[in-house]
């Protein structure tokens, strides 16, 4: 399908980006039909060939569309090729807006939650086009403003795809040129040409100047593009080729390539507070993980940032501080997508900022915010955990065999507490690759003298018959009672249900959300697929090493999954022990209390 118009100047319109749903192998597609990864290579030369002016619609002939393709809504129709009219560039920009994840700068902005699917970028631009950008420039500014608004609105749940651009392209050398796509992975449906990327870069720089809130990422791109190009190319190839179609709407980061860049930028980021930066790095490297841990780290970083904050002259503290927090949040999203607990905490903080009485002086306001943050952490997390432990203890009896999965901070507290009270029980810790979080928990439990058994998730149906209770943690619980937790939790809960064993999920109330999730696909987080390929310490299991370039192999490393409510017997929160059907009651009744 898609023949991407390479240079904006020549291309009149934009090929609609068509998204395929389901698992597709690249070979199955015909040449003209678009195809990500694999076809990109072939597509790359095509745009240049057709730059002379095949009609933009060439790839769109109905015949080339497979039934599952979903043509995205398009702003403008194709224009005659070779006529870089303002209309054309306008439409092009329009498309950009909807689809492309522009280079990092706009990555944050361009994220329209509702149009989340298409991450695509590669708006080709060529350097010679610079003179044509007057109207494009204006559109760019508009787009940037709109995007800034959207970014502020969607700080919570946006799945930002920080993907690198392009598609993965095998056209790495082409991409070596600047393009921002450096941090983004994209879902290329369309091959982009280098030239177009350049143009986008330039537009972004302009946007930069116009925007009030400085975008931290942009600077990375500008300086590091070239350095990263090579690294990126290698990583990109494997990402692009091995991305699973069904999860295209989720961002996938180029692991390993961002960290050194970010680290070196530490002292150059004026707008970014160092503690926020530090927390971002910790997320990126995986040092801080777990819902509570990440939320507390983020709130403490914000507390520091608020402490050092000084209202610029002629600005209102509430608005400016909110904008600043939003920019910090955008940065953190770049490092790692927000967890639901973090989203709720951010909502709380913004709520508190908005409710500050205008008569307070700056120092009073700052002190009040800091104490609010302290209170939130204390009441909603630390004390809530203690209450949960006190409820859960009543369900742990002597001679119980408790099973837990992964490493949840609350479940660990329950087990410690039960052990201190002298109950006689033993624990089965179930673990799974690639994170192997259970090992840390196992070590800590054994050090305390608790009788433990360790097994992997593929053995749970073997060990489940002797279990009396299953304790699980959760990243969040949604309104329909679905438990959103570490991948693998759903399997453990379902096996326990099949054996008739009660499943108790322990979760603080601040992690509840009014959203509804029906499956694990719409909203998830993709981890580094390379970790699946390699088993640390076992070089002989590297069978997949040579297949990374194979188009038929797609790697998927999910981080979360959704457990339906019928497999959960009870939810233990700081509001007591509830059935899963009562989660919306808590969200409804205590929404004011939760956010105040």
């Amino acid at each position: 399908m898609d023949l991407r118009r390479p240079p904006r100047s020549t291309s009149g319109g934009v090929e609609p980006k068509i998204r395929q749903v389901g698992f597709v192998t690249p070979d199955a597609l015909s040449a003209p039909s678009e195809r990500p990864a694999a076809a990109v290579a072939s597509a790359a030369p095509q745009p240049s060939a057709s730059s002379a002016g095949s009609p933009p619609a060439s790839g769109l002939s109905p015949g080339s569309l497979s039934p599952v393709m979903i043509p995205p809504p398009r702003h403008a129709d194709h224009l005659a090729p070779g006529t870089p009219s303002p209309a054309a560039s306008a439409s092009e920009l329009g498309d950009d807006e909807t689809w492309s994840r522009a280079p990092s700068a706009s990555e944050l902005e361009a994220n329209k939650g509702d149009l989340a699917e298409l991450q695509n970028d590669n708006v080709p631009a060529s350097i010679p086009l610079k003179q044509k950008t007057s109207k494009a420039e204006r559109r760019a500014i508009q787009e940037a403003q709109r995007a800034a608004k959207a970014a502020v609105k969607e700080a919570g749940f946006s799945g930002k795809s920080a993907g690198t651009s392009s598609g993965a392209n095998p056209a790495a050398p082409k991409q070596a040129k600047p393009s921002k796509a450096s941090q983004k992975k994209d879902v290329p449906q369309v091959a982009s040409s280098v030239a177009s990327e350049k143009k986008v870069t330039e537009r972004l720089q302009e946007r930069d100047r116009k925007k009030d809130v400085p975008h931290p990422r942009m600077q990375f791109d500008d300086v590091h593009r070239v350095e990263k190009a090579k690294k990126r190319a290698i990583v990109n190839q494997s990402e692009a080729r091995n991305r699973v179609e069904l999860f295209r709407h989720l961002p996938q980061y180029a692991h390993g390539t961002q960290l050194p860049g970010l680290e070196s930028k530490f002292f150059q980021l004026e707008p970014m507070h160092p503690s926020v930066y530090k927390v971002g790095l910790q997320y990126l490297s995986g040092e801080v993980s777990g819902g509570n841990g990440r939320c507390i780290a983020m709130l403490l970083a914000f507390k520091e940032a608020i402490k050092d904050y000084i209202t610029p002259p002629k600005k209102v503290l509430t608005r400016d501080l909110t904008a600043k927090i939003s920019s910090y949040v955008s940065f953190l999203i770049e490092c790692r997508p927000l967890s639901i607990s973090m989203g709720n905490a951010i909502r709380f903080l913004k709520n508190r900022i908005a409710k500050l009485p205008l008569t307070l002086s700056e120092s009073e306001a700052k002190a009040s915010l800091q104490s609010d943050i302290d209170r939130f952490i204390n009441e909603k997390i630390i004390i809530a955990d203690k209450v949960i432990v006190s409820h859960a203890i009543t369900k742990v009896g002597d001679n119980d065999v408790l099973l837990t999965y992964g490493s949840s901070s609350v479940v660990e507290m329950i087990l410690d507490n039960a052990h201190e009270l002298g109950r006689k029980f033993r624990v089965i810790v179930v673990d799974s690759r690639p994170k192997l979080e259970g090992q840390g928990l196992l070590r800590r439990l054994v050090e305390k003298g608790i009788n433990c058994t360790y097994t992997h998730i593929n053995a749970i149906s073997y060990t489940m018959h002797e279990v009396t209770r299953v304790f699980l943690g959760a990243s969040s619980i949604l309104s329909n009672g679905t438990v959103y937790s570490r991948v693998g939790t759903a399997s453990v809960a379902m096996v326990a249900h099949a054996f008739g064993i009660p499943v108790l999920v322990c979760c603080e109330a601040y992690k509840f959300h009014e959203r509804v999730l029906l499956d694990s696909i719409c909203s998830n987080e993709l981890g580094d697929p390379d970790v699946i390929l390699k088993v640390p310490g076992k070089a002989d299991l590297g069978h997949l090493k040579n297949l990374t370039d194979n188009e038929n192999l797609q790697l998927l490393n999910l981080t979360y999954d959704a457990t339906p409510s019928e497999y959960v017997s009870m939810i233990i929160t700081d509001y007591g022990m509830l059935p899963p059907t009562s989660v919306p009651v808590i969200v409804r009744e205590y929404k004011e209390q939760l956010w105040i």
């Binding site: 006190s390 369900k395 009270l421 009660p502 007591g576 509830l578 059935p579 009651v585 009744e589 205590y590």
Partner: protein, 366 residues
């Protein structure tokens, strides 16, 4: 519930305590067995076996001491129509009325003491402790208590307390009215054991000239089902008695199952006389609806995960022949039916689905 349940979830290692709750029911239901007589004689704290309604007994003046509460409680309890829980509620309302406290705090402490005393009278009765807790919450939940003078606050508390008592007394009538829609002409209803609420429902249906018939389980070991069938026959309702094991056999001809409840737990499930879980399972597998008629003061803040997760309540079983010494007998008096086997709860708050119980409890308690 037992205050130290958290510390000791296991049943007592000693001989199982006889549940006073079930003994009282036997007393009310005029079913006397030799075992029961022996235990009744042994338990000095229980009143003599005086099953007749004794409304003429003088009302002892309830002082502000705990002993007064028990007397008042016993007074109300002797009416066979009154549930224990309702008696407790009326007793507590009387405590407020006759209290000599001068501050809110004092009054609340007095109420708490009285409530604890009532609860300890029988630690295994779920509805009793649930009703006491609910009464306390309902009464003390008024928000502007702190701002008023004490007398005004006290009279408001008395008002709320008596209102709660009235609601509870009338609960059965409300439930009976609500259930009329569910009983249609020509239907067959299965009931289990002797439940006064269910009896009220069927009484009202009969007086509304509905034509239906009832299958009644025997309800061993105290054979309360026989008493139920007596009452139903007296109302001219066609009744058939089944032994407990014949429930699955007869389930085909049954249109719906009506049971009462000793307590409704937070998950929406019920704790009721032994055998209810079995019936609910059979009904569920044959797609027959199971309706639970339970007053709202029975909503308890418990959440059993399985059958053994409750405080045990035992009742001696009389097999008619002596059991050899080495043989153990399962004497538990009640079981827990999880919410997925129940269709609807008919309560004085309305007709509810099991998941609403938690909703109500959250609103009241949190």
């Amino acid at each position: 519930m037992e205050p130290d349940a958290a510390q000791n979830p296991n049943p007592n290692p000693g001989p199982p305590p006889i549940s006073a709750y079930y003994q009282t029911r036997a007393e009310h239901h005029a079913v006397i067995s030799s075992d029961w007589l022996a235990h009744a004689a042994a338990a000095a704290s229980l009143p003599s076996s005086d099953a007749d309604a004794d409304a003429a007994a003088p009302l002892p003046s309830p002082g502000s001491n705990g002993g007064g509460v028990i007397e008042e409680f016993n007074f109300w309890r002797r009416k066979p129509e009154a549930a224990e829980a309702v008696a407790a509620i009326m007793a507590l309302a009387a405590v407020i009325r006759s209290s000599r406290a001068t501050t809110m705090m004092e009054l609340e402490i007095e109420l708490k003491k009285a409530s604890d005393k009532l609860k300890s009278w029988d630690a295994t009765s779920i509805s009793l402790s649930a009703a006491c807790d609910l009464f306390m919450r309902f009464v003390t939940r008024t928000s502007h208590l702190e701002h008023e003078k004490f007398d005004a606050a006290k009279s408001r508390l008395i008002e709320r307390g008596e209102k709660f008592g009235e609601i509870s007394l009338k609960a059965r009538k409300t439930i009976a009215m609500l259930s009329q829609d569910f009983i249609s002409d020509g239907c067959t209803i299965l009931v289990h054991g002797y439940s006064r609420v269910v009896l009220e429902v069927l009484k009202l249906a009969a007086s509304n000239r509905k034509l239906f018939r009832v299958l009644c389980t025997e309800g061993r070991p105290d054979r309360t089902g026989l008493r139920m069938s007596n009452e139903l026959a007296a109302l001219d309702i066609p009744v058939k008695v089944l032994i407990d094991s014949a429930v699955a056999y007869s389930m085909d001809e049954v249109d719906m199952v009506f049971v009462g409840a000793d307590g409704v737990v937070e998950s929406g499930g019920i704790i009721n006389m032994m055998g209810t879980y079995q019936i609910a399972l059979v009904a569920h597998s044959m797609n027959k609806p199971v309706y639970v008629a339970a007053e709202s003061y029975k909503f308890a803040r418990l959440y059993p995960l399985d059958q053994k997760d409750m405080t045990p309540a035992h009742r001696p079983i009389d097999f008619g022949v002596p059991i050899p010494a080495g043989v153990e007998v399962e004497t538990s008096a009640r079981d827990y039916t999880p919410p997925q086997y129940l269709t609807l709860l008919l309560t004085d708050l309305g007709v509810l689905t099991p998941s609403v119980v938690s909703d109500e409890l959250i609103q009241l308690y949190l």
